[in-house]
Subunit: 508 residues, 2 copies
């Protein structure tokens, strides 16, 4: 049997088993290294003998220290390596240097819904935003009714989506951290896929005033906000009628939207991973990173996120900042999150899951080094705090928790119109507001979940395709999905998750 193990850099003293069913004891890998025990797919084999305290190196970086003698050919897992300290934020100076020239990539387009503010939608969606959780029972009810009764009359509108959330009342609205959920709700309403047709259902007595959710330049609330406590509504029937009438006004406008040819620079692609395995850093993430570079080269926008998965690779990212301010902003977001976790008596090591470990990722350092690969190699032009909206095209670090739905929610607020989600263990993650293009890090998952995975990056592990080849394939698929000519799996199946707000402040 052919044995396949993968080293990322020449300095690595571990390699990843790529054979789908793992390798048995006695199997010979690389230059005659004999496996001392069976090692599952995705897990690490020791390429040398380790003394206690020796550095374990992957991606050319120290991912841990041997906590016992480890023989060459042994299985290196989370139990026998100890976690290094995270890079000290004070010790990462920024040196302004000439950044690599970005070679422009021209002529790529997609069919999108151009908006007045310059952004472009990839779907044409009536979004119903709410100012408070209390109204969610009614907005859910209304969404069904609109789908049944109104949507068929407006053929150019793809969907109606209620943004139900658990914020708005019963929360400490003057706590310093309250700004995060508030601006998130505000900015989600401005997502390019909603075409500026903001519709807000409020109750009337909530702490979060619906008016705060309107863009600063929109001073009239007349056609956008409806309060259930409005004295004009005599009961539920009236409320339903009122909301249906408001929806119809917005649907009429949305129905006039048509797809037109948009430059690829209108893409705003949020990159995220979830349910990662050791292949994520070898296949899915580098392929997505390559595609990310292509999008940046067209003048488009790419987000990478997930602070706890970036924290241990921050020394590799700071040098990529376009200037000292961006470098400092990167470090500030790390410091904010360090303090946030510490307040809850946790640290970044709380990130890894049983699934990560089962998939071969021993700790957060190994996970982070594989995770940041999906940012590609472009300079980092800006840092966006949780809930803020992007200001610049190019590669942005959008600071978010790694929690899949919280990250997706914050990327939507930042202005994402296309989501690329890399997974190794598999997740049915889907969002109604933007297409979620699911990339598998290994073919085993892609084959099993044939109707849930959109793109299999697995072949890269076996050298049957290159990262470059697959990066281009993914780039083309992104353009097709953005154009509506291809649908992602979760949109075909109609499975979508609720958004989840990040509220670092207290409930009352």
């Amino acid at each position: 049997m052919q044995t396949i193990v993968i080293k990322t850099t020449p300095e690595d003293n571990v390699a990843i088993v790529a054979n789908p069913s793992g390798l048995d004891r006695g199997a010979v890998v690389l230059n005659g290294i004999v496996l001392q025990e069976p090692i599952p797919m995705g897990h690490k084999v020791a390429l040398k003998a380790f003394q206690e305290g020796d550095e374990v190196i992957r991606y050319g970086q120290v991912i841990g220290f041997a906590n016992q003698l480890i023989r060459e050919g042994s299985w290196i897992n989370e139990r026998i390596i100890s976690l290094p300290q995270p890079p000290n934020l004070e010790d990462i100076p920024y040196v302004q240097r000439s950044l690599p020239e970005i070679e422009p990539l021209e002529g790529y387009t997609f069919q999108g819904y151009k908006n007045q503010d310059g952004s472009a939608g990839t779907k044409n969606v009536l979004g119903i935003t709410t100012s408070v959780q209390c109204v969610a029972g009614i907005t859910d009810f209304i969404c069904q009714k609109i789908k049944r009764e109104l949507l068929p009359l407006y053929p150019n509108v793809d969907d109606v989506v209620a943004f139900n959330h658990s914020y708005g009342c019963g929360i400490a609205i003057d706590a310093p951290a309250a700004i995060v959920p508030i601006r998130t709700i505000q900015h989600i309403a401005q997502n390019p896929n909603f075409g500026g047709e903001i519709m807000i259902i409020g109750l009337g007595c909530e702490k979060l005033r619906p008016e705060r959710l309107l863009p600063a330049d929109q001073n009239s609330a007349d056609s956008s906000i409806l309060y259930l406590q409005d004295e004009a509504f005599e009961g539920f029937g009236d409320m339903v009628d009122g909301i249906m009438q408001l929806a119809e006004k917005h649907l009429q406008k949305l129905n006039q939207r048509k797809r037109t040819t948009c430059p690829a620079s209108d893409l705003v692609v949020g990159m995220q991973c979830g349910g990662s395995d050791a292949f994520s850093g070898l296949t899915g993430n580098p392929v997505s990173g390559f595609a990310a570079d292509l999008i940046v080269r067209t003048g488009g926008t790419v987000f990478f996120s997930e602070v706890t998965e970036v924290r241990d690779a921050i020394h590799l990212l700071v040098p990529r900042a376009v200037d000292a301010n961006v470098a400092q902003a990167l470090k500030d977001e790390m410091a904010w999150y360090d303090a946030y976790l510490q307040q809850g008596r946790a640290d970044r090591s709380a990130n890894t899951t049983p699934g990560n470990k089962g998939g071969g990722l021993s700790n957060i350092v190994e996970k982070a080094l594989g995770s940041v690969v999906k940012s590609g190699t472009s300079p980092i032009v800006d840092v966006i705090s949780p809930g803020e909206k992007i200001r610049k095209k190019g590669l942005n670090f959008v600071a978010t928790p790694a929690s899949d739905f919280v990250c997706g929610t914050l990327q939507l607020a930042a202005g994402m119109n296309m989501h690329v989600f890399i997974t190794g263990r598999g997740t049915p993650y889907g969002l109604a507001m933007v297409p979620v293009l699911k990339v598998s890090s290994n073919s085993k998952l892609a084959n099993r979940w044939h109707d849930l995975i959109d793109f299999d990056a697995g072949p890269v592990a076996f050298g049957t395709k290159t990262i470059e080849e697959m990066g281009w394939e993914l780039f083309h698929l992104i353009l097709d999905v953005a154009s509506g000519t291809k649908k992602v799996a979760t949109d075909k199946l109609g499975i979508h998750n609720d958004l989840v707000l990040f509220n670092p402040g207290p409930l009352t």
Copy 2:
């Protein structure tokens, strides 16, 4: 025109305007007090002249201090009184005394679904619990499919409800506070309305292991847990089939449940208020408190909750504890919440909403004094920490945030089978798992929201009915709703809100 203002105790130096359209300047109330300005319904009129610093007294308690000269007949609102300090928890000693004898109330029953563990359901619901947010898109899809295809075949089953939540992964599962959401999910699956037929959908790689959600005495996971990452599932279609088969097993058992005569002592009624106004403490809450006493007299269980609305009345509650341990537990929950709020740089004054103030509640002290009235007068037999399950019958303090859905979720976890929700401003609050009986504090709301309010406690304000009369009416209505012979408004309309977990720990 008849002027109606209400004083709660003889010591009060303010009274509440009860006339639905408020009172005009010049109106004469009580013993010739002349209004200096128009005062809206629910708001306070000064019954004397106040010097700066004078105590403002309602419910016989200091609700604030005049922060300026206030003439007799003036409108006293939140702007002209300052907030007192909350009672110092160290200064409330517990003195064991002979508690009032509870006069047993016998012969009251309802038609419920008796469970093996001794509890009784008020609905017969297939509950689908999840271990992680990732699976929610699929459980939502499945719920619809079960409703369409399976539920009609099992006529004794009322509903299928998915408990989707935002916990399970992307969270610091070893943080000290993680125990709160984990035990909440665990205990919700044991709610009496699910009849012990626990069904858990997991992903496979999440931090929260689905096995942790099973009751301690249930060691077999075979018939309860399904993982989407199970290698036996080749894609979405297989997952759907797998879940439908599991659901059918549980539906077969649930379909054998029949309503039988249960003693009223099987009631577990969660009392809560939301969107309160100044009438809440005069009408809805005392009427609910009277009904609460009746339920306790039958041997049944009543919860009151909402720590921030109890904090300023804690000195009135500690003496009602059955023993020193319960008294200490009450104070411990207050102290825990004080610290939790302080960590987020907020305090209990963050509780009041614009709606409260608009409805005449000037501050959290006034709100709390009105809020605790719904606990009735029974001794407090136990204190339940957030997410825990009750241990004793009688009046329990179930510690929760005041946030409506978070409180409701924690009351469900504690074992509630009937929810009484008092509102003055109006909220469409509804839950699928248990009936939510909505009590209006004023007839104006009850009339306007004729199809959303189940019980109008407004007549108490005008003396056309007494608290006692209406308390008995509410008690009988609770028994009818628990029996399924009357349906609450939100169940008739089919409007239900998602549950919201209390997660005081950090995201990762």
